[in-house]
């Protein structure tokens, strides 16, 4: 599996997706029959209540977890059949992840945090450094590149996380409540940056949020209810 440095997004087709978790003696069925699709360079928002399974959808599409059943087609690749290095490669090169919490590595500078996923992909260090600097400049943090996460504000950390998600130029960007931990001003800033980057870099975006105003900026909003997606 190798889809590196794409200049455009990939279409996503999800069908019949089901996922359950053990809950004592029984199983808790979070996703029952989820179907959706996003066109190449398209944008989709999934809304729903807390605990409804929004983040589970993203983790399945990101290849972090396996569904009980169903299909996830990203470009030509069936994610549910990937394993080992194929799956590592998919996570590294096809998907960019932005979470509600920044999940930056505490012992690494902003620049190193952005560079790490590219080092995983085996790219040349000088090229990685240039790209990382460019991305940090794009999110307005070039001057903070040598700062540790602890030395950055919440909004700045999230912007570094956004830059990290884009370092391998992934065709698919998955954002899970990317502004959920930020105040209004920082939320607006990060949202603008996210949509601006997705627009300019022509990426496919799947956004999970309970913020309907943010969701509406994608143009397509689905609501997760009872384990199924319905138009909002």
């Amino acid at each position: 599996m190798r889809a590196p440095h794409s200049d455009s997004g990939l279409p996503v087709r999800v069908g019949g997706l089901a996922k359950s978790f053990p809950n004592g003696q029984e199983r808790l069925h979070i996703l029952r029959n989820v179907d959706f699709s996003v066109e190449q360079n398209g944008r989709l928002a999934i809304v729903g209540q807390s605990g409804s399974g929004k983040s589970t959808i993203l983790s399945l599409v990101a290849g972090l977890d396996l569904p009980d059943s169903g299909s996830i087609l990203v470009g030509d690749d069936e994610v549910t059949t990937l394993a080992g290095t194929g799956l590592d490669g998919y996570r590294s090169r096809t998907v960019g992840l932005v979470f509600q919490f920044h999940y930056l590595l505490r012992d690494f500078t902003a620049l190193e945090n952005v560079m790490l996923p590219a080092m995983v992909a085996g790219r040349r260090r000088t090229e990685i450094r240039d790209d990382a600097r460019e991305l940090l400049q794009e999110v307005g943090l070039e001057g903070r590149k040598d700062h540790l996460p602890a030395q950055l504000s919440g909004g700045e950390r999230q912007r570094v996380a956004l830059a990290r998600a884009l370092i391998n130029r992934p065709p698919l960007l998955l954002a899970d409540e990317p502004t959920g931990n930020l105040d209004d001003t920082n939320s607006r800033h990060v949202e603008d940056m996210l949509f601006d980057v997705v627009e300019r870099r022509r990426r496919t975006l799947i956004l999970v949020t309970h913020n309907r105003e943010l969701a509406r900026r994608t143009g397509t909003v689905l609501r997760l209810e009872g384990g199924c997606l319905i138009p909002d």
């Binding site: 972090l64 590592d88 590595l105 505490r106 012992d107 790490l116 085996g122 260090r125 540790l148």
Partner: protein
């Protein structure tokens, strides 16, 4: 993952190379210091034990057993081939000696002794003997027919000083259990010390001609003591082993030829034995003691490695979230695993370097260190404390730093540290990427 990425991960996980200080870094420092401290005793034991063994063996060989001995098979009619043996290529000197046992009397005491009947040249023509034997009273003078030179501990036991008259009892066996005693008078010419108690409490030297008369043929050991120009490359597990043996191959072969030529020249009436064969039991016991000590000290290194493993397991637990993030961004389980093995190796390299350097520093100054310890313990105890009783060993430990055993110890430490990293590495590789979602 690229090598630079792996190194960056390992170094930062250990808390090094980052401005952020904390538990990770202190754990790294503790692990490194632990490995270093565990290696110090191993290096010191190797160097000091080798130094002591070397010191004792060289004293034995140079003053007692010679490098090679041609020992008469019992036929006293043999002509002692001194000149012929002295002319063999590689031979430095060949001297006749008769050895036997006797009981030495003074007015105040008596002592069983090993009588060594030698020529004056034993002392006057051999500078190495003079290096190892110190005259503590009188002279090493066997030119008078009644002269006797005593080992220092015999002299002390008999209360004898130069100029005193002593009687030496030797016994000729007559068969059927009967003995013929013979008492000979001697005057103490000198008192000597080799610095090694085992030798100083046994030896008395008498002139060769007198020895040939008073030591009965039946119990005498007649020999030609031979010294060669490269004795310690003769096959032995003390100085000529492993890589040293390979490096000294030409010299070893040359000495082997010298041995063969000595045997041929001496003829069938003489056994020819090299210094190692002559005292093999003693030398093997030295080696065994040293090896046992090394094994015990190596176990200390293994214990330190267990601590490294524990520290890394704690690190994995602490960094579980970071590992999950890395896995989510595409870092393979194998790369995570390698990063932790590398972390163990970094601890091993740092600890081994520090430990080897500290060990060599202590070993190189072991005599001063022991003196310092004795002064400190004496001060604390309020009385004189001997940590190292030179009566039973050497006055001073001769330390010649040998780097090959140090390299071996460092390699062993690195290997153990690498193995110590395997368990935590396996555990780190098992952290699933979805753990990132469980925060």
């Amino acid at each position: 993952m690229s090598h630079s990425g792996l190194i960056l991960l390992a170094v930062r996980f250990l808390g090094a190379g980052s401005r952020r200080s904390g538990r990770g870094r202190s754990r790294f420092i503790t692990a490194v210091v632990g490995v270093a401290l565990s290696l110090v005793p191993l290096v010191v034991v190797q160097q000091v034990a080798d130094g002591m063994i070397s010191g004792i063996v060289r004293r034995f060989v140079e003053t007692g057993s010679y490098h090679i001995q041609a020992i008469a098979r019992g036929n006293r009619d043999n002509v002692t081939p001194i000149k012929e043996l002295g002319a063999v290529e590689g031979v430095v000197s060949a001297r006749q000696e008769r050895q036997g046992f006797g009981l030495l009397y003074s007015e105040t005491g008596r002592s069983g002794v090993t009588i060594r009947a030698v020529t004056q040249e034993y002392w006057s023509e051999d500078p190495v003997v003079r290096d190892y034997i110190e005259v503590t009273g009188g002279n090493f003078d066997l030119t008078g027919p009644d002269s006797i030179v005593l080992g220092i501990h015999i002299a002390e036991r008999l209360g004898a000083v130069p100029g005193d008259e002593l009687r030496l009892l030797t016994v000729r066996p007559l068969g059927e259990g009967r003995m013929l005693p013979r008492v000979s008078r001697f005057t103490v010419a000198g008192v000597v010390s080799t610095g090694y108690r085992d030798l100083d409490r046994l030896w008395v030297f008498v002139p060769l001609e007198r020895g040939l008369r008073i030591i009965p043929d039946e119990s005498a050991r007649d020999l030609v003591g031979i010294k060669v120009d490269d004795p310690f490359v003769l096959p032995n597990p003390l100085f000529n082993r492993g890589l040293a043996r390979l490096a000294e191959g030409d010299r070893t072969r040359r000495m082997a030829r010298t041995m063969n030529e000595i045997s041929r020249t001496a003829g069938p009436g003489w056994f020819v034995l090299d210094w190692y064969s002559l005292e093999q039991g003693r030398y093997i016991s030295f080696l065994t003691s040293r090896n046992l000590l090394s094994i015990v000290m190596a176990m200390v290194v293994i214990v330190a490695a267990v601590n490294v493993s524990s520290a890394l397991v704690l690190l994995v637990v602490e960094k579980e979230q970071d590992i999950a993030i890395l896995r989510a961004t595409g870092v393979s389980a194998g790369s995570v695993s390698r990063a932790f093995v590398l972390a163990g190796a970094i601890i091993g390299v740092a600890g081994a370097t520090l430990g080897a350097a500290s060990g060599l520093l202590i070993a190189g100054n072991i005599n001063g260190v022991l003196q310092g310890v004795e002064v400190l313990l004496s001060f604390l105890a309020g009385r004189s404390v001997d940590v190292f009783n030179s009566d039973f060993y050497l006055e001073e430990i001769p330390v010649a730093i040998r780097f090959l055993p140090v390299a071996g110890s460092v390699f062993f430490t690195l290997l153990v540290a690498l193995v110590a990293g395997l368990l935590p590495a396996r555990r780190a590789a098992a952290v699933p990427p979805e753990r990132i979602l469980r925060r």
